[in-house]
Every structure is written in C-alpha cells, then in structure tokens.
Amino acid sequence: MDLASFRAALDDWLAQHARELAPPYEGSGTLDERVAHLARVKRLGYDAGWMRWGWPEAVGGLGGSPILRAYLGEALMARDIVEPDAYSMTEVLAPTMITYAPAPLAAAMVPPLLRGDELWCQGFSEPGAGSNLASLACRAIPADDGWRVTGQKVWTSYAQYAARCVLLTRTGTPASAHRGLTALFVDMDSPGITIRPLGTMHGTDEFAEVFYDDVPVPFDRTLGEVDRGWAVAMDLLPYERSTSLWHRCAYLQRRLERVLATVPDGALTPLEVGEVAQLLLALRARSRTTQYRMADGETLGAETSIDKVLIATAEQAVMDLAATGLAPDVMGGDDATSERWRAEFLYSRAATIYGGTAEIQRNIIARRVLDLGDDR
C-alpha cells in the first residue's frame, strides 16, 4: 500500500464514517469519555484495516511504511476525531515491544493495543528520578519464579486505564546508574500494584502515582537484556519524537485553525499570528523530514531533541495565541468550548517539562549534536 492510495482510501472512509467517528461529547469531555471514545475509534479503524497498516505482519499488522501511521494520526487529528495524547502512545510503546519483547509476546500483546482493547502506560519517572532518569530506584529482584518489583513510579500517564506497563526497574546496584536498569512488561492487574491518580493543574487527572509492592513479573516479560534497560529507554524516546510528534503537530495545526476561525476581529495582531504559523510550519517541515528518515530505516538519535524543542515551543505558542485572542472565553467562559481551550492552554505549560525537559533537550543538543564535550 503506497501513501497516495492509502490517503485517498482513508479520506474516503473517514468521510463515510464521520458520524460514527465523531466524539459523542462537547469540548474535551471527561477523561472516561475520552478513553472510551478512543477505544471505539481504534476498534473501528482496526476492523477496517487502517490501524494495522504500517505495522509488521508479525504483530498483526498489514505491513507498509510507518509513513502510513503518521498520515492516519494526522487525518484523525485534522478531523477532531481524537486527540494525540493517548492515541499516540501506541507509536511509542508498540515499536518498543517489536524491537525488545520476545517474538511470541509481541505477537500476542500488540494486536489488542492496536485494536483499542487495551491502553498501555510507560513507567519511567519516579519521585527521585525525573530529569535524572538513570538514578531511578524501583527495584526488580530475581526470585525462583520471576522478578519481584518494589518501588514507586510517578507521572505515569493513563496508569488507571492501562492494562500493561513498560516499566523501567533497577536490577543493578544503586550506584550502577544507567548500566543497572532492566525494562519489564508488566500486567497492571498484578497483585501488589496500587494506582493513585494525581490531580493536575489543567483539571484532567490523566497521570498517576503507581506503587509496586513485591509485584511478581515472569522472566519472559523482560524487554531486551537484563541490565540493558537504558538502551530500551533511549530507543523509545526518539519514537516519541517521530510519528507521535507528527500527530501532535497535526493537532496543533487544527487548534490554530480553530483560533483563526473563531477569534474576534482585532483581538490578535497579524505579526503574532504570522509568527506562530511560521513556528508550526518549521516544526512540520522538520518533523516531515524525520518521518521519512525513519521510514527509510535510519536510526533516530540525539538530533530529534531539536524536533522536541520545536514542538514544545510551538505548542506553547499556539496556546498562548489562543489565550490572548480568545481571552474572555479562556479566562472567563464556562461553556464546553471555553473549558477545552482552558484545559489545553494549561496543559501546554507542561510541554517543556514532559518527555525530557527543555533543559535536558538542550543538554543533549549541546553534548551530542554540537559536540561541546562533557559538562562535568
């Protein structure tokens, strides 16, 4: 399936099923409503084949370039069918399974993720390990019948909805840093897991603290090699900056279109509007190149931190523009549309924090792209 045929057929299908695919709520809906809607959209898309294109046949896919996945997400965002957050997590977690899980495990687990039967989460950050991820302390100890995991994760998005978790644990000594980490694939209904959703500034309690108390994880749920979990984490991050970033860029364009369509005359200056549009265009141009590099089989690396800096900047710029141009609604409106803008504006403040802070991205660019040597 080439992109042109895929695009034409998908656009057709989306037009024919517009009514079924539209969110059944106004504005953002509640998180429960959004998660249920996402599952429904993925199911419809999977049954029609769209969700399977661009994934290898070994995990239930229909083959073809990952560019197809980039376009699918873009097409869904452009029509306000889904929002990128939970939808795009597939783009980060499924490739990790394909690369690092034992083949039978990947073959069994990825299809329900693509079909929307399951949502997964990613257990990396801890109270004591944010930017310094390699200092994480959640321990996995080998017992006779498998790993035993004890520790605490935090800022785990969608943990309360997730069936599985890609969990980063410490298997080496506390001093082993990035050399003593192991990635595990954990069932979230395992005994010993307690999930406590956290209230957030933007009012959507999408992330949680997750406590692991002597949680059993079979050895065949190990992703990659023991003590080589850092490689899994490092391979996963560029995925966050390729397909899923393209989806988010499409969503931001859609939101800028809404600003343009609804802003009162004179509320924004041409200069501020033009500048945001150019930022988004630069992000799109940059990310487009990254999509094709990935499709051509190139290994993505530190240079994707530039994509990440660009999207964090663009996201805040789009939402700052909305908060300026639609200020009476965003600051003082209680209807569903105003509430959605308000939540999105507040959420955008996190764009320079999650997935590696703006400072960590600049550290990576300085050391690994500009070759400025070590900073210590």
């Binding site: 041409p270 500048e275 500009l370």
Partner: protein, 320 residues
C-alpha cells in the same frame, strides 16, 4: 546536474568563495560556469553559491543573475536588476501617467551596468511587467548602511520613459528565487556565527575551566542550532517543492533565526566578539542587511498574519 556534477561544482564554488570577493569572485564564477549551472539547475546552484557566500562573508553579482533568471530576462552582458526598497518584496517600479517611477536598491552591479532591469507592479488598470532603463536616467548613490562591505546602492527615479515590454507576470517567481538565495546566504552567515561562538566556548578558560562546560553557555549554543535548523527545514522544503508561501516563510525564519543566533553567539563571545577585529560583527551585519532584502522577517511575517486573519484559515502546506 547529477550528484557527481554537483559535488564537483560545489568544490569549485567553495574554492572561489574562499579566495575571492567582489569583482574577482564574479570573474571566478564566470570561469567555473556559474551562469550555465544556474540555467541548468537553479535551486541547486543557488543553494551552493549563496550558502558559501554567506559562510565566507564574500559578495558577488550573483543575486542580479538569479533575479534575471526568475524574471525571464536573457543573461547577456552585465545584468543589473533593481531590487525592492529595504523591507519590501514589492516590484520597485510603478507607472504613473505613462511614466515610470522607481524606488529601490541595487547591488554594485548596478553601478557598472549601462541598463537596469526594473520590474513594474500592477497599478490602476495597467499591467505589471518588466522593463529596462538606462542607468544614466537613474539617481544612484552608494550607501554604507549597517554592512558597508555590500556596497548597497539606493535607486530612485521619478520620471523615466519605461514602456513595459514583458514578459508578463514573472515577479513572483523572481521574488521566490531571491528569497531562497538570501535565506541560504543568511543561514551561511549564521552558521559562521555559531562556529565562531562554539570555537570560542571550547577554547576560552574562566574559573579554571573551559566555558563550554557552563550550562548557560551550552544552552545558548543549543538555542542557536535550533533556530538555524527550524529555518533550514523550511528552506529545504521550499527548495524541493517551490511555492511563494514556503519561500517567504523560509526567508522570514532565516532572518529571525539569524537574530536569535546573533544574540546568543554575541553573548558567548562576550568582550572578544565586540571588537572590530573579531569577525563576528561582519556576519551579524551581513545577516541584518540581507534580512531587509525581498521582505524582512518582520514584514513577511506581518503579511502572512494579515492573510491568515483575512481568510481565517491555514493553508495546507507540506503534505506527507
């Protein structure tokens, strides 16, 4: 040109721009066949020459040739083309009552040429087009401005006999080509600023260590690279799939990126970078002047914003 030809061409242009500037560079470019390359593959030859020109801080008459190509004017003899006034991308000529008024700038090529090509904008019921006028009829004076090395010429004429000869509507194409060329030159100059600042950060010692270890310094250099790469991405796209919207955005991002870069690099270079003998200010001045040619970051961005607010929609650019 195939890949091998391009490589060979780039190598000769690199040698030329590293050794010569001004008339000598024009001579070298004539010898290596720059005009033929331009006719054969405009985007590739433009990107190679203007990038290197920006990096090495040299000047040539190539912009006039690029414009002539875009306007569809034959490249015979020394060509000089009148550019829009600073900050603008509008055709420099306007017809009033059958007479031609001109307000624009020019490169040093204009002072040597006997005739100048002038694009004329649409006014009233009169069509746009291109005409040539004798340079003796033009009021020309050289200005130093912010970048005296360029030899910029102010051009004015209030009443010239200028029948528009055609070809018709080629101004938009010429503007896009010029914007691509200038974006490359600005980014070349900006890369030079980054190189100077990076080199300085790695060699300058304070508090007993290389200042490249300080996060404040590292982040400024990282910001500079992000600004450059943002502009590069759009410029590459504009070159692969030419469109006026992409060329204008590339030019705008290059101009703004250069300012961002200059602010950070200047701060990293600190006192040394403020001296006249340090080359930093030359690249900075060049980027500031080039930003003003064929629409600046400011005017192009404002024009884009005007369009977006008027149409209340976002044009679909760069499909996968």
């Amino acid at each position: 040109m195939d890949a091998a030809d391009l490589q060979l061409f780039e190598r000769s242009v690199r040698q030329a721009t590293e050794r010569a500037t001004g008339d000598a560079l024009d001579e070298a470019l004539r010898e290596l066949g720059w005009a033929d390359a331009l006719a054969d593959d405009a985007p590739a030859s433009i990107s190679i020459l203007f990038r290197l020109q920006g990096r090495s801080h040299v000047t040539s008459a190539a912009l006039d040739e690029v414009l002539a190509t875009g306007l569809g004017v034959p490249l015979t003899g020394p060509v000089a083309v009148v550019l829009p006034p600073l900050g603008s991308d509008a055709a420099p000529g306007a017809r009033r009552d059958g007479r031609l008024c001109i307000d624009g700038v020019g490169t040093p090529a204009l002072r040597r040429a006997e005739r100048a090509v002038v694009a004329v904008g649409r006014t009233g019921g009169e069509p746009s087009g291109v005409t040539t006028v004798a340079t003796s009829e033009l009021d020309l004076h050289v200005v130093a401005g912010i970048d005296p090395d360029v030899g910029l010429v102010h051009v004015r004429a209030g009443d010239v006999d200028g029948r528009v000869a055609g070809p018709g509507d080629t101004w938009a194409r010429a503007v896009s080509l010029a914007q691509l060329a200038l974006s490359h030159e600005i980014l070349g100059a900006t890369q030079t600023m980054l190189e100077l600042a990076r080199e300085h950060a790695l060699t300058r010692t304070q508090f007993g260590q290389s200042i490249s270890r300080f996060q404040a310094v590292r982040h400024r250099l990282a910001e500079t690279l992000v600004a450059i790469e943002a502009a590069e991405a759009v410029l590459t796209a504009a070159q692969d799939a030419p469109s006026p919207a992409l060329a204008a955005a590339a030019k705008s991002l290059a101009g703004r990126g250069a300012r961002t870069a200059a602010r950070h690099c200047q701060q990293v270079l600190a006192g040394i970078g403020f001296t006249a003998e340090h080359p930093f200010h030359r690249s900075y001045r060049r980027s500031l002047l080039l930003d003003q040619l064929f629409g600046s970051a400011h005017t192009l961005t404002r024009a884009l914003g005007d369009d977006l607010l008027r149409t209340r929609s976002l044009p679909a650019l760069l499909p996968l």
